[in-house]
Symmetry: C2
Subunit: 420 residues, 2 copies
């Protein structure tokens, strides 16, 4: 095996543990200096490769790299940028090849969701055709938990923990005051196409009457009358009703609830904000006083309440990606395999990129209660291990101290890249 450099890029929406994967990649690569030269990270993801903006991670101290393990968001920058097919955009692929060749990059580790694994797969194939083979390994990442084959996606466990903790706490707040004040609380969570995040919030209801009382999933078409009846019955029974709504909650015709809110003060169609929509619907139809929250980025960056299991798995897939590359594997992605025993165990397995690319895994119907408003015991058994353990960052002056990188770029060797 020739000694060559490794290129690592973060892709798509960031998570509170994607940097733990980066940490796993860089620390593992540093243990194999005989085979891996430098680890370059794309500045703002794959776009950094196109622009030849390569961050030289060797300029970062071991301490800084270790701190990545407990730093949220994308430390090297990420982007939503999907390469088109080779036929459609030959120029981009050839540019990537040029950059990799110019910097002796023979390993490409792409940390992202389904789209990214598709890209990594294409580059792997192309590099073979071009006679400059690149070992391409995917590293799973997504808060949405929608990748196939892997039992779960790093990034998901922490957002799951955040939403479960948050609805438990806010639920107690509402319960305190519901007799004379707010009776309905609506918390909006992420998950445009799948209800994994919304479902995980259901873990907070451990005993009869615990929040959340209702979960609105994208998988279950919204039925206004049935929903309102349920809200009313919760208020009667428990004094209040705590609702978790997925941003992807939709009508039977596939339009998002959030889109039904009409135009805002400027005449724009309102984006996001399904929580205020649901809250106002309840107020209009049932008259209950409401409050609502939209956690938005707070939920996917909340490293302070990350799941220790998630952090460990995120690190492990980063480490495994380097090990796979060193073992000569190609066009694969490390995945999490759940043990079959009653006690939760997991190990790293592998999936072919071609099987992972562009497949979206939604919540199985048997994870959703038959009335469509909560999770089942099967879902609970699936979710629960993923939020186990706390992995607190270091605090100084009362606030978490996250890695601050130098992000020094490698000297450029090629002509400036012009996007189409």
């Amino acid at each position: 095996m020739i000694k060559a450099n490794l290129f690592y890029a973060q892709s798509g929406g960031v998570t509170s543990v994607i940097n733990a994967s980066a940490c796993g990649v860089i620390e593992t690569a540093r243990q194999h200096r005989d085979k891996i030269g430098k680890v370059y990270a794309g500045r703002n993801g794959i776009v950094g490769a196109l622009k030849e903006e390569l961050i030289d991670t060797s300029r970062e101290s071991a301490k800084t790299i270790a701190a990545l393990r407990s730093t949220p968001a994308g430390a090297f920058g990420s982007c939503r940028y999907k390469l088109k097919s080779y036929a459609e955009n030959k120029r981009e692929y050839e540019r990537l090849m040029d950059v990799f060749q110019a910097h002796n990059i023979r390993y490409f580790l792409y940390n992202g969701g389904g789209d990214s694994q598709d890209t990594a797969n294409k580059i792997s194939q192309l590099s073979l055709e071009k006679g400059f083979p690149i070992t391409c390994i995917g590293i799973p990442k997504t808060v949405d938990n929608d990748l196939p084959i892997t039992d779960n996606c790093p990034g998901f466990g922490s957002v799951a923990k955040y939403v479960a903790v948050s609805i438990r706490e806010a639920g107690l707040d509402v319960a305190s005051m519901c007799e004379s004040s707010t009776k309905v609380f609506v918390m909006e969570v992420m998950g445009r196409h799948a209800g994994w995040i919304a479902g995980a919030a259901g873990l907070a209801s451990e005993e009869e009457g615990d929040a959340p009382h209702i979960i609105l999933f994208p998988e279950i078409p919204f039925n206004k009358q049935k929903f309102l009846r349920k809200v009313k019955s919760c208020v009667r029974k428990y004094g209040y009703c705590a609702i978790v709504v997925s941003e992807g909650a939709q009508h039977a015709n596939g339009t998002f609830l959030a889109d039904a809110g009409g135009a805002d003060a400027f005449g724009h169609v309102q984006l996001g904000g399904v929580a205020p929509f649901v809250a106002q619907l309840i107020k209009a139809e049932l008259g209950y006083k409401y409050h609502w929250a939209v956690a938005d980025y707070l939920q996917r960056s909340a490293r302070h309440i990350a799941s220790a299991t998630d952090v460990e798995q995120a690190y492990a897939v980063g480490r495994a990606a380097v090990e796979f590359a060193l073992e000569g594997k190609n066009a694969v992605m490390p995945i999490i395999i759940r043990g079959k025993g009653k006690k939760y165990t997991w190990r790293i397995g592998e999936a072919r990129l071609v099987d992972v690319a562009n497949v979206e895994k939604t919540m199985p119907r048997n994870y959703i209660r038959s009335d469509g408003f909560h999770i089942t015991a099967a879902a609970r058994a699936y979710f629960s291990p993923l939020i186990q353990g706390e992995d607190y960052p270091v605090f100084k002056n009362g606030i978490p101290q996250y890695a601050r990188l130098k992000k020094r770029l490698v000297g450029k060797k090629l002509k400036k890249w012009k996007a189409n």
Copy 2:
């Protein structure tokens, strides 16, 4: 001193540490069984006294009471209920006297904000006139930090920590992706009349370029053009702009920014939601892609990220309230006094309820930077000690375990109360 029972009530909006005060009250009272009989807690606050719904805390185990220290929200229930003046509503005051007399209650500890201290003060006076003297002690509580005399209010330090941590984390998220995606992030925080909470978020910016870049205070009239120029300059300089806006942010004429958003889909004037308003204003005028978050109750119930200093002070004012009562003090409230040294120290002092009642403390102008968009070094020095230390609750199954009380009511002795 005759042995008598103690009545404790929680009042107004709850916090993540008000139960720590309750814990301080009950644990301290239990150490003085020679003087204090039982501790009764009002079910849903003072309304519980009117309805003769008294929770017998002696039925709760020492373990459960200890768990209150790390349980958010109001464990006994709270309410927003301000007693009118005696002249206006003689009946209510006399009912309270009847209930106190019927249950041999000679100590009344009222855990709330300025309104509540006013009520406690009135009851103290009236009880003397009626010849059934009640020792009335206030216990400070408010996330808004707007009580006078005391250096700070228990409840505030934890919400301050939550907003500082949250904007740091979300800021990193936005920074990761701003080159190709979201450039503006707006986080709405509580504080209808004072910018204390918004200001505390400023602690997150420890180095040049750190989020938040802009804070909108209720104390500073909103200047649209100046604000938009500032947003633009932040995006140019840092690539993105992270904004914290107080729900109380207002125009020069005193109307809330949030009210300017017009009516919603149902024709109601939109309540809350200043974050989407600000975000959409920026989009309309500058074209930047935005995201926004409204933490709402999440911020004041986030016991999982409470300030250890705040928890300690909340417990201490609860304990001190009982000690004051035992020392024969009356119509006073324990307060936090800050030491004069460079190193932060604090001790318990006292204030007369009459001096605390109905006075609202806003941010001093010298805590706000001259351009009106951030905090000064003086503010930083004030805020920073209040968010120090972490005091994590116990987790089980990945979620915090909070006290579950029996809340057994004492047998009623009086006729049913009918509200007017």
